[in-house]
């Protein structure tokens, strides 16, 4: 199980990168550049609040998993 958690760490880091990429290019930047004021607010929230939480948080989770922080002997 501990070995599997370490392998999954790579998966979560990859998912974090993919989510970050699509969050920025598909949701964030198009919203900011759409010219509509309500989109601007939403775009700023996506880029500067949501992406750091979602992508950054999942990335750190993946890193911890990879380095064995969630191993049974560390709980």
């Amino acid at each position: 199980m501990n070995g599997l958690k370490k392998i999954l760490g790579f998966v979560w880091i990859a998912v974090a990168l993919i989510v970050g990429y699509f969050g920025i290019t598909v949701l964030g930047i198009p919203k900011i550049t759409s010219g509509k004021q309500e989109d601007l607010v939403f775009g700023i929230i996506i880029l500067f609040v949501l992406m750091p939480i979602i992508s950054g948080g999942l990335g750190i989770f993946g890193y911890y998993s990879l380095t064995g922080e969630y191993s049974d002997d560390k709980k």
């Binding site: 199980m1 949701l27 709980k75």
Partner: protein
Amino acid sequence: MSEKHYESYENMTEKQKNRTIWSVITASSLGTLIEWYDFYIFGSLAVVLATKFFPADNPTAAFLSTLATFAAGFVVRPFGALFFGRLGDIIGRKYTFLVTLLIMGFSTFLIGCIPSYETIGFMAPVLVLILRLLQGLALGGEYGGAATYVAEYAQPNRRGYWTSWIQTTATAGLFISLIVILVTKTSLSAEEFDGWGWRIPFWISILMVGVSYIIRKNMKESPLFAKAKSEGKTSKNPLKESFGNKFNFKFVLLALFGAAMGQGVIWYTGQFYAMSFLQKVMNVESAQVDSLMATALFLGTPFFVFFGWLSDKIGRKAVMMTGMLVAILAYRPIYDSMFKSVNFETKTVAANGITEKRTVKVHDKIATDSLITFHKETLYSDGTLAKKDSIVHWSATGPVMKDGKAEEPKVSQSVKLNDDTKWYLVLMVFIQVIFVTMVYGPIAAFLVEMFPVRIRYTSMSLPYHIGNGVFGGLLPAVATYLVTTGKEAGHTAWYLEGLWYPIGVATVCLVIGIFYLKSKNNNIHE
């Protein structure tokens, strides 16, 4: 004093403990229910509030409206969780959630007192925005306090059952807000409601908060926190201990990605996306949507308590992960079946079932400018009634032109369901509410059990509010984007595309939950 309180509680008989915990649950649940009521009132009356405070033709007011909508959920709720969580771990649970209750109550009451944009201009939307942000802040601090307070009173083998009463409050708050608005609307004329009646649901809040405040004020501090405080074991800096310490922070991340984010999207799908899907994708009449949602919520609410109780018997993880798994597998078949239940291609038009009318509304000042409405009603043999209004803008010389072409008519459609279809849809929404109760019923006990008493309020509040406020709150925007993109791309099942968001998030959460969470419920007495 605090040590005495802990000892006297520990020395109580089982019967005395049960009596105490019922008063604890009443005090906590009532306050939390009112906070959810206050939060939803704003959303449920958003259309009226927009006309009073945020005129659409004014860009600055529209900007403030967007801030009020997004910032309260995405930014301020998690911030409230940090701010009040810290206070709760330093000062105590009881005083902190008394403060959040008062902030929420007064903010809501004051929103109902603000003069309209027409009367005081920009001050109106600015004041509404400030009060809405205060609502989000208070909500962020409330839930963690109530859940922790009840859990720290509960016997270990019944913690899931007792805390599940807190879990019913979010759904009950939504239900009560719908009922209060419905009663106010039906008691007044449309003009009266639009003129001043919309303020009543906001004013009612202060009465409920007053009662709840008195009940909560007379409660004692949680025995576990009181003991920790008397022994000097409370944290001096809960934020640093929760998020600056790797050992605790990894559990905050695990709580978020292994439980709260999946729970958040399933909660929003079952209670809000289902409603939006019925209204916007299936075009079901708004009154029917309200009544069928209220019925499904009412029938489903007792299951929060059932699954909380079950989590004491077989473990929180087993109940929550099963809920997530069945939701992931069932969402597409459920929504496909809902959509096809109103499929006109399989229905037969009743004899003399088509009615068509044409009405003309002439502009007051420009007699040659008019709006022509083509109204068509189709009655089907099973009793379903489809209505379609096409509004065409007409000038003296013919249709109004835009970019060299006749202006597109504005089309609105609505469907009045027959009784069989209505009850079928109640069942479909009810099943989704059951998924909600499976993942949400045990989560308060689960989160409380993940963290030690000294940083519990802070550590459990943040993942909960990010899971619900951020991952759940993003659902409408992302799902709408996916549905629109799917429709434009010509996908045959475009109406199911929005479900990829909750399915994807819940799947990641399920995998993390299965492999990383412990199966056995934790002890919280450290």
